[in-house]
Point group: C2
Chain length 300, copies 2
């Protein structure tokens, strides 16, 4: 079995969708525990305006305080030049930019047209590459937009290629609103992997409608070997309106372990990291695996 890379987004995509403000010390302990669990990449924060995302206001402090485990890379989201400068001075060498496959979503999310955002990211990526960074790109709403509905497959292919052309080593094709189903995933990947090698793609599924794992399973058939997930399902409480529904790292690991894939990650160490953070969140985490570990669970 080939090995699968789990790209951990809990501290960034997860936490930025949590209402409770988490202390810097708790974030650092969480990230260090995820490192120790063997995760090969952890996205630790976003260098965005604190006015937009108060949860990410301590990006510098987090990046400076975490232990750097050999074997784990630490990435951060950077929306622009200023974010890149901040990230570089905080010692980040893996940065991520995020474009949208939907014009309306792009304008509402980052207040730029898709074309303007690509022009911006081209400059950011060039400087990041010049500084010796690796650059990753997210392509959000690739399977559907909350405002526009369906997204044209040609648009997804064109933007994925555009993001690679600006120097991204990997494009995380993202189901931001969790509408994708395995039939659509197959159709998208059949077309996309004819144009872009599967090894340069990651898939980022949200579990909003419960489809994340079956979509991962469908993606494996196309040779996709990197999947994004969030420890504990952080950021995605299905019982809260507005839940983003992040796929839980533990649930992804439970499935991949059962299919015989190597990940190098300890599922129980990830679960322990999630459990340690859980009391700070004000609600239970959504990971099925985490819930099933409670003593009385699963014996009906």
């Amino acid at each position: 079995m080939p090995s699968i890379t789990i790209y951990e987004v809990g501290p960034r995509d997860g936490l930025q969708n949590e209402a409770a403000l988490i202390s810097t010390a708790d974030k650092v302990a969480f990230i260090d525990a995820l490192s120790d669990a063997g995760l090969p990449v952890v996205e630790v924060s976003a260098f965005v305006s604190p006015a937009w995302v108060p949860q990410m206001a301590d990006a510098e402090e987090v990046c400076r305080a975490i232990a750097r485990r050999p074997g784990t890379r630490y990435s951060a989201l950077v929306p622009n030049q200023k974010g890149l400068d901040r990230a570089l001075s905080a010692g980040i060498t893996d940065v991520a930019v995020f474009a949208a496959a939907s014009e309306t979503f792009s304008r509402r999310n980052i207040n730029q047209s898709v074309a303007d955002s690509l022009a911006n990211y081209e400059r950011v990526a060039r400087q990041a590459l010049d500084a010796g960074c690796r650059v990753r790109a997210y392509l959000s709403t690739a399977f559907g937009c909350p405002f526009e509905g369906d997204v044209a497959l040609a648009t997804v292919i064109d933007l994925t290629k555009a993001l690679r052309n600006l120097g991204a080593y990997q494009v995380a094709v993202s189901d931001t609103i969790g509408v994708a189903r395995p039939g659509q995933v197959r159709r998208v990947l059949e077309a996309l992997t004819r144009e872009v090698p599967a090894t340069e793609l990651a898939l980022h599924f949200h579990d909003t409608r419960g489809m994340a794992l079956v979509n991962v399973r469908a993606s494996l058939d196309f040779g996709v070997a990197t999947f994004d997930s969030s420890a504990g399902g952080l950021g995605g409480c299905p019982y809260a309106p507005g839940a983003s529904g992040n796929l839980a790292t533990e649930d992804l690991l439970y499935m991949l372990n059962g299919l015989g894939y190597e990940t190098g990650v300890s599922i129980d160490a990830v679960a322990a990291a999630s459990s340690a953070l859980e009391p700070r969140l004000g609600h239970a985490l959504s990971s099925h695996y985490l819930r099933a570990r409670s003593p009385r669970a699963g014996h009906d």
Copy 2:
């Protein structure tokens, strides 16, 4: 695409795992709404001792009060002769018996050895068939036992054949504790479908560890065409200890619809039936699809 039969177990397997006692009138309204949604089979109650399962004490009243929609069959669980007599006198013509693939689970769940339970069911099934009933059998803990751990594949095959031999038209191979993963599902079905036609099997997955849908997806490759699920995920709140984790009918439909399978069931009508019952339960239902319908959901 072939069509898939959804065997709705919410009013029985779902409700018997809910703490709140639901009134007969609410159960009848729920079942009628599920019928109207187009579900081809609804398991409406269990003719078990009210001392064991107080939620099922009104089995007769429920069976007599529900509307019988042409095109929907109404089944009930019967553990023994007395249960069968009660079911027949309440007008039930589809009955289900339940055996376990684990000796310890059988003794703890129904206080009988597996062999004794089969001898019992043979008599029950013969009488049911003589009375013109269809007989279904559940084989619980087929993918793992909470007490014994792994269950031998040979045991699963032998018991599935034994249950067919006593006259069951279908055996619902059940992952009672929700431990199965698609690799195991493939291994079990590869062996099992060599001995028993896939058309005589149903798969009954619990979502305790989030694997139910990806296990359904794996089963589809073997020609399995009947899956059990519970409207709203009734009986399986992942936030409660002891959650059984029933697969939600809405989530199953959302996936099957996306794969192009015909079911004849309206997803929004099932969701409406679940939503109408939800205020009586004391907690939110676990169906992802149901949660994603809330106005603010899924737009992160």
